[in-house]
Symmetry: C2
Subunit: 378 residues, 2 copies
């Protein structure tokens, strides 16, 4: 109400350096692609682009899965699509929770009518593989076991190898949230026997928000096909989605050509850089930031052994009030970082160095501002 | 596979004149807004923009409804959100079907566990108000009665006034699909006692696809709050969505600032033009096209009394094969029109003159191409 006069104009918005938990900075090249003239959702040129996006996403996910595409919604729509297609009412879902997004998964699964077995780990730490394997041994009939690979709320990286190896010989699908990991650290879907994996475009992939890359293994597809009841969401039914976005290109919804342009361009950037070089870049820049923050008296909310390079949950030095300092960082220095969630609320900054933002200049600009504001210890 | 070499680049895509059933052409000004630097989903500037989008959407919907926002998905996500929030398992839904999108609504409602009472009208015609009122009298306990205002599959405009007046004194909510109508013909949500109404950005609003404007009346919100079971889709739960996009701005998902920029700019264009002038423009240009096509031997798939100006379902003259001619129109003349769906398949072109595309130049370019290809009768 108070904001309606004078009228807002998009052209007057002040750009920020996006060093929060996402969205990450989008390169000029990707923004230019975004603004190419809109094409119809069934135009042969656009259908070819969809196929190319799927091909490039397979590379980034590290999978040969045919059913690999981008959902027309944000990363949370990816989570919703993953769970809604796999779960039927009465199914059991084992869900690992070591942060905010594990809690969200459990909420979603319950709304879908699943019996949820929660496996808890400390926020900032990870779940022991043995914990998850034990939970599965106690619930061998579970339809799915889900974990968050890179917990955006805590900055912790969850190990996946042992759980994937264990589940591959069972009837339980392995579902992994790679929203903040894909493009930043190796995900390697096939090597890790992951059955369902989804991400978002606006983190380490370097595109604007609005699409959720997702992939389903052949055995996951078989399980979805064998459902006794239809998927409750027509919009996110992957069988319909894949008929449109993949194999037959039969109309389902009006996919946003502009968002796909941007994703395609971002995936081209990744291909040109090389996935492994991109992972190295995230590691190098993230480590630099973490060292520099430590030298200024910041602590780590995340267990040292589990820290992600691309998302740092840094405890502010003693006596520093995070809220006002974060607002000053944004308003005075034009830099966005995130606040904490759950037990991390009020005590941490979540600093993302993701995609196009994972570069030394970002660290330098942030540290200059941190020093100017007197956030660190002298 | 065959398309992967040489590598595709977004910059080599050939623009088209979009005269199909949507997306419609996006103005340069809106494309420029789309490509402004991405902002965080909780940036105060972006939150002010969200508020302004809601305010402007209220104007276009013709409503004072507080809960008015844009869903982070396409028009079909709007339909999904509308039905998923209103319906619980076992509820009765009366669904008017006079085209493809009515069929879709019924499918969605059934997946959500509703008992669906289908009320059928001829494709190309509309449902008699008395038919719908009778169906309601026979099912007074129905939770919702849904119709499609502008059937994108047939080009017919459904009357709403009598049904709205009838339902306003009952416990049944009136749900209207305004995907192809909003911004092109008057929707007037409050005048017509509509409780839930959704649209899409890529039709008569003139923005790229990716968002679904939606509005809920106070009594619809009350019914959603009184649900016995949670909404099965966390992603589309309007109570959570409105907490983020409206009142409290509490994090829910990462709304795409870029898509909201474009929508905001398109709504600014509408405000500058004036809603009523915009309706007049659609009417004038659509009537021109319909006259010109008739003079070339095209028929109307739609009952003459029910034709929408912004979407014309034109039967091709005797002996003309629509598929190859439509492909030639696209490939040779760079103009996209749509084919038919259901009973209209193979016999009609669906021609949209929507948003920025609703101008005389579009009609002229189309007719030149039609004449060059010899589609019309000499």
């Amino acid at each position: 109400m108070t904001l309606s006069a004078p009228p807002l104009s998009v052209s007057t918005l002040t750009p920020r350096l996006l060093l929060g938990p996402g969205p990450s900075p989008v390169s000029d090249r990707v923004l230019r692609a975004l603004a190419r003239p809109t094409l119809g959702h069934l135009d042969p040129q656009f259908l070819a682009l969809l196929d190319d996006v799927s091909r490039r996403l397979r590379e980034v996910f590290g999978t040969a899965n045919e059913m690999t595409f981008a959902v027309s919604g944000t990363g949370s729509a990816g989570m919703q699509a993953a769970l809604a297609n796999v779960l039927e009412r009465g199914d059991t879902a084992i869900i690992g929770i070591h942060g905010y997004f594990g809690v969200r998964m459990a909420d979603m699964a319950r709304r879908l009518g699943a019996e949820v077995v929660e496996v808890h780990g400390k926020w900032g730490g990870v779940l022991e593989s043995e914990q998850l394997v034990e939970a599965h041994r106690a619930n061998p009939h579970a339809k799915v076991l889900s974990v968050v690979h890179a917990e955006t709320s805590t900055g912790a990286q969850q190990p996946l190898d042992e759980v994937g190896a264990h589940l591959s010989g069972t009837d339980t699908l392995f579902l992994v949230d790679a929203v903040t990991s894909l493009g930043g650290v190796p995900v390697r879907v096939d090597d890790r026997n992951i059955d369902v994996c989804y991400s978002a475009t606006q983190k380490c992939l370097g595109a604007p928000p609005g699409l959720a890359p997702i992939t389903f293994s052949a055995r996951a597809v078989d399980r979805v096909r064998a459902r006794a009841t239809p998927v409750s969401s027509w919009y996110l039914d992957i069988t319909l989605l894949w008929k449109y976005l993949g194999v037959e290109h039969v109309y389902h919804h009006t996919a946003s050509s502009n968002l796909f342009y941007a994703l395609h361009e971002a995936l081209t950037e990744i291909e040109e850089e090389g996935l492994s070089a991109r992972h190295d870049r995230h590691l190098e820049v993230g480590s630099l930031l973490q060292r520099e923050l430590a030298s200024r008296g910041f602590g780590s909310f995340t267990d040292p052994a589990s820290r992600l390079p691309q998302l740092t949950a840094a405890r502010l030095p003693e006596g520093r009030e995070e809220g006002p300092l974060r607002a000053a960082l944004l308003e005075v220095h034009g830099i966005e970082v995130g606040g904490g969630l759950g037990p991390a609320k009020g005590v941490v900054w979540r600093i993302g160095l993701m995609g196009h933002g994972a570069r030394k200049e970002s660290v330098e600009r942030l540290l200059e501002a941190v020093d100017a504001l007197g956030v660190g210890e002298p």
